[in-house]
């Protein structure tokens, strides 16, 4: 057994986190910054943070993930990292020449209290920032929030630094996609395009972290939202933020800074949340939903009606980020599955309340805890077994020990491909999720069925 020391008996822990269902802010900030075109993320702290974040993102995407670091030594930790950051800015613009350096802090630089805007001003005064180039920053102390908080904060920094309002409203909507995959960002753009709604999507990691093999490496590939587009967000008619935790800070900042009204929705996972997204887009842009999109919706629903018997009453355990779990839980409940154990590493009474609301008609007790870890999830499963696990790669240890099928979903996925190419948002994303769930459940049924009831037609 891989997790052989996990006891069934649950004793509350106050101090020790075991097998976390979250990671720290800076990696989310790095991920978001990669969604700006020609941007090099920069980690202001020890070089290990940058190395760890790059490694984890690289393993998840199987793509180049470039970022620089201030490489603090003990001296910098005592006297401050100004000299390091100024030198880094000089080196980055001289050698790598991005349009934007997006600096995020770490627990180290936060604890010593480095003032990044002041250091950036110093770099500018020293002539280290070429004209037309930008250094933006965000504070991402690792001891506050999670990777999703870091993503949200860096996305907000894009608004703080770039959004401008010229006084003329443009016929355009901003969409903040939330902490989702490049494939999901691509899918959101596709849906908007189908509906004929001009949008600015930010950040946008599509074609950055799912780029083609061409035999030619480019540090700054085609993808990413441009600085110009970010500046234009202040003139858009409205902002739709998808995923409360990841997107609302930037959406609200745009409202405050440029008076762009915003609507915060759940991530469009499953048909109900996608319906709300499409309907909001329809109403905001005052357009009709094209038939092609209705057909996609119908196909998703067709899978549900055709295969309902395989979903009905199946118990599921989930771990992941709050935004994803809210939408996913709603999706599962809507197809009559029973999400019975749910943990996220994010703190939040709101989350628990929302999950309770979504699952109030599930005819089974539901365990939900935030913040909590996968150790607790495993203990719940030992006490009340489930039919399916949905979450990141780390769940494979529970899956194997308890012999439960696993659908990989969320961050990080270190052992399979697909997530960067095939979305889980929108109706088509919903179809993919259902395909994965059905494959997992039906492969299990095939494996376990007695010979006499082994089914050809399912």
């Amino acid at each position: 057994m891989l997790l052989r020391h996990t006891p069934k008996e649950i004793n509350p822990r106050k101090a020790l986190t075991i097998n976390p269902a979250k990671t720290c802010q800076p990696i989310g900030a790095m991920y978001a910054a990669l969604g700006i075109h020609s941007c090099l993320p920069h980690s202001h702290g020890s070089q290990g943070c940058c190395a760890y974040h790059r490694s984890t993102l690289t393993r998840h995407y199987k793509e180049p993930v470039m970022a620089a670091t201030s490489s603090f030594t003990e001296g910098a930790s005592v006297f401050g990292g100004q000299a390091n950051l100024v030198q880094a800015i000089d080196n980055i613009f001289t050698i790598y020449d991005p349009d934007v350096i997006a600096v995020h802090t770490t627990c180290l630089s936060e604890t010593i209290g480095d003032d990044i805007p002041q250091i950036a001003r110093k770099a500018e005064a020293d002539g280290k920032i070429p004209s037309g180039k930008f250094v933006i920053h965000v504070n991402t102390p690792s001891y506050v929030g999670t990777h999703v908080t870091g993503f949200a904060n860096m996305t907000k920094a894009m608004v703080d630094y770039f959004a401008k309002s010229t006084g003329t409203r443009a016929n355009r909507i901003n969409i903040i996609p939330g902490y989702v995959e490049p494939s999901d960002m691509e899918e959101i753009k596709r849906i908007a395009e189908m509906m004929g709604v001009p949008i600015v999507l930010f950040p946008d990691t599509s074609n950055v972290l799912n780029r083609p093999q061409t035999g030619k490496y480019e540090m700054f590939p085609k993808g990413g939202v441009t600085v110009e587009a970010l500046m234009s967000t202040g003139d858009s008619m409205a902002t739709i933020g998808l995923g409360r935790m990841a997107s609302s800070p930037a959406a609200r900042a745009l409202d405050t800074k440029c008076k762009v009204p915003c609507e915060i929705l759940d991530l469009p996972i499953g048909f109900k949340a996608t319906d709300r997204f499409v309907d909001t887009l329809r109403k905001t842009a005052a357009i009709n939903v094209p038939d092609a999109l209705n057909e996609e919706r119908g196909r998703l629903l067709d899978i549900v009606t055709d295969m309902h018997q395989y979903f009905y009453g199946r118990k599921v355990a989930l771990a992941g980020d709050a935004d994803q779990l809210i939408a996913l839980t709603e999706f599962l409940v809507s197809i009559d599955m029973w999400p019975v154990h749910i943990v996220t590493g994010t703190a939040g009474k709101d989350f628990e309340a929302r999950i309770r609301e979504i699952t109030r008609n599930v005819p089974h007790p539901v365990n939900v805890s935030a913040p909590a870890d996968m150790f607790l999830l495993h203990q719940w499963i030992k006490n009340e077994p489930v039919d399916l696990l949905i979450g990141n790669t780390y769940l494979k240890y529970i899956a194997r020990d308890e012999d439960i099928p696993l659908v990989r979903f969320g961050f990080p996925i270190l052992d399979r491909v697909g997530h960067s190419y095939f979305p889980t948002v929108g109706y088509r994303g919903g179809m993919r999720l259902l395909e994965k769930i059905l494959d997992a459940l039906m492969d299990r049924q095939d494996r376990d069925a007695p010979e006499e009831s082994f089914e050809l037609v399912m």
Binding site: H5, N19, A68, L108, S142, G215, Y217
Partner: protein, 551 residues
């Protein structure tokens, strides 16, 4: 400047001037940076007395350069202590550090079934929050150790400090001392904050000190076995240690402890009863060997199980150390048994790989050791370098007396070690040592990487992303070896990339079977057809035939 054309990749055919390459690598960078990098980019040469040029190493990383280096915590918790299965390793800090070092290094371990202790699949963290940073995290750490003890009753708990812990002044050592007393098990801490030192190398040193101070020597039980050794600096990535174990067992050599692949706490505690320390990765572990020699009288030798010839050489060296004809004969039997299969595969693959170029930028020893395997299949290492090694790993240990200790290295504690009054037992008498050395047997010596590299090859310390890209353009090597962060940028340039930290999904590559695995893996990579599909037919031949065009 001249670059290798697609058709010819052998440097003899189209020589590239390494001095021009060095110029090219430095051309674009700011002057001050170029001056520093110039010391870390060296054109190799071999003087008559075997001296190699001096290289800048173990110096501060230049901010913004895009280094591949990691931190002290990674070197301590991730590299050295990570592969030990039965210690509960608690990361004291915000959640990230523990999360990123959770199972990501492919260290394999074989716990006893069904109930032997194995905590490597778990990530333990105090998950420090803002209030812990403001008011101090000692209370939470104490509670976390207690909770870990209550849950698992392990034989040992260790604590790893992350950056903020040192800054806010949590006294992790006094907390662990108290808890050790209170719980009656071994509890100890490492001050391995990420900002210490200039790379993960500082973390190795801190880990060595901690192992030596808190575990080595706790158990005096003498095991059975005629030839007892420790294997140091072997981390069982992809199962390397299992292959080495197999070979040693066949030779009748008893492995008391491995530091730290597939290791357990009890092995460390007992390791001082071995009669020889053998060092694989000189960089990460030579400190423990040095200290064990001083305290317990165990000599150490440098060995290498990467490469079939190197493995054979290593076995002979161990056998010669024991000066026992029975062992010498047994070792020859094992080599004779293993080599035919190795030679068969090697020769077949060499025919397809001969003359192709390799580059290796990894670690503190692998960039050296793996050149052996490439050489065995006829491939040339045109450029190599370490990520975090020191000058002695490049130039050989003879430079050690002249190394300047800078401020960053001075921050890492050097333990003062003395012979143990009861347990110091020289394994070889002074006369024996002198006689053996006279006969060419080399104790505590390492020649470094550069002496074994050809003249005119480029040796680059702490290579940056920019330099990597230029090298790939200029030399177009058949394969590039480094780590996960470099992996896909290299492959996106159309060049196969082999990870030599984690081995991608492969291994073992150590020992005889490992060598065969590696030959096959490199053959797969450098001779694969997949790289010929980069261009679609219409990109190769864009002209349009008009015959299907409509009127």
């Amino acid at each position: 400047m001249k670059v290798v054309s697609k058709e010819t990749i052998s440097p003899e055919v189209e020589p590239i001037d390494p001095a021009a390459v060095k110029q090219e690598l430095l051309r674009k960078v700011p002057t001050k940076v170029a001056r520093k990098r110039a010391k870390q980019i060296v054109i190799n040469s071999l003087a008559e007395n075997q001296d190699v040029p001096e290289i800048g190493a173990n110096t501060r990383t230049i901010p913004g350069i895009i280094t591949q280096r990691g931190c002290t915590y990674a070197g301590c918790k991730g590299v050295v202590l990570g592969p030990t299965r039965d210690i509960v390793n608690i990361t004291h800090g915000p959640i990230g550090c523990g999360f990123y070092s959770w199972l990501t290094r492919r260290n394999q371990t074989r716990a006893q079934e069904p109930a032997g202790e194995n905590f490597m699949t778990y990530c333990f963290s105090t998950d420090m929050q803002e209030e812990d940073i403001v008011f101090g995290g000692e209370k939470k750490l104490r509670a976390a150790i207690q909770e870990a003890y209550d849950l698992f009753k392990p034989k040992a708990i260790s604590v790893f400090s992350t950056c903020p812990v040192g800054l806010i002044g949590d006294d992790v050592h006094s907390v662990t001392r108290e808890m050790k007393e209170q719980l009656g098990i071994n509890v100890f801490a490492f001050s391995c904050e990420g900002y210490k030192g200039v790379s993960q190398s500082a973390g190795h040193h801190i880990a060595n000190n901690g192992l030596f101070t808190h575990i080595v020597g706790l158990d005096d039980t003498v095991q059975e076995g005629k030839y007892k050794i420790n294997l140091l600096g072997e981390y069982n990535i992809g199962g390397d240690a299992f292959e080495i174990d197999r070979i040693l067992k066949d030779c009748g050599i008893t492995l008391v402890a491995t530091f730290s692949g597939n290791s357990s706490y009890d092995q460390f505690a007992n390791s001082h009863t071995a009669d020889l320390n053998t060092i694989m990765c000189h960089r990460s572990i030579n400190y423990v060997a040095e200290m064990m020699e001083t305290k317990f009288g165990i000599p150490w030798i440098k060995i290498n199980f990467i490469g079939a010839e190197a493995s054979a050489k290593t076995l002979r060296k161990i056998a010669n150390y024991f000066e026992d004809p029975e062992l010498i004969e047994r070792v020859e039997e094992v080599i004779a048994r293993e080599m035919p299969e190795v030679i068969k595969v090697r020769d077949e693959i060499r025919a397809r790989c001969q003359g192709k170029l390799a580059m290796l930028f990894v670690g503190g020893s692998r960039a050296h050791h793996y050149q052996e395997l490439f050489a065995e299949i006829g491939m040339k290492t045109i450029s190599a370098g370490y990520e975090f090694a020191h000058r002695d790993d490049y130039e050989g240990r003879h430079v050690l007396p002249n190394l300047k200790v800078d401020a960053d290295s001075r921050n890492i504690e050097e333990l003062e070690v003395h012979p143990d009054p009861e347990r110091y037992r020289p394994r070889k008498s002074a006369e024996d040592l002198a006689r053996m050395q006279e006969n060419g047997f080399r104790f505590k010596d390492y020649d470094g990487m550069m002496r074994e590299m050809a003249a005119g090859t480029l040796v680059i310390d702490d290579i940056s992303q920019y330099e990597t890209e230029r090298l790939l353009e200029i030399y177009k090597p058949a394969i590039f070896c480094a780590g996960i962060k470099e992996k896909f940028a290299v492959q996106k340039s159309g060049i196969p990339m082999k990870q030599l930290h984690s081995y991608d999904s492969g291994g073992p590559y150590a020992g005889f079977k490992g060598a065969i695995n590696f030959y096959r893996e490199i053959d797969r990579m450098v001779n694969s057809q997949i790289w010929t599909y980069l261009k679609a037919p219409w990109q190769e031949n864009p002209e349009l035939a008009a015959k299907y065009a409509c009127d």
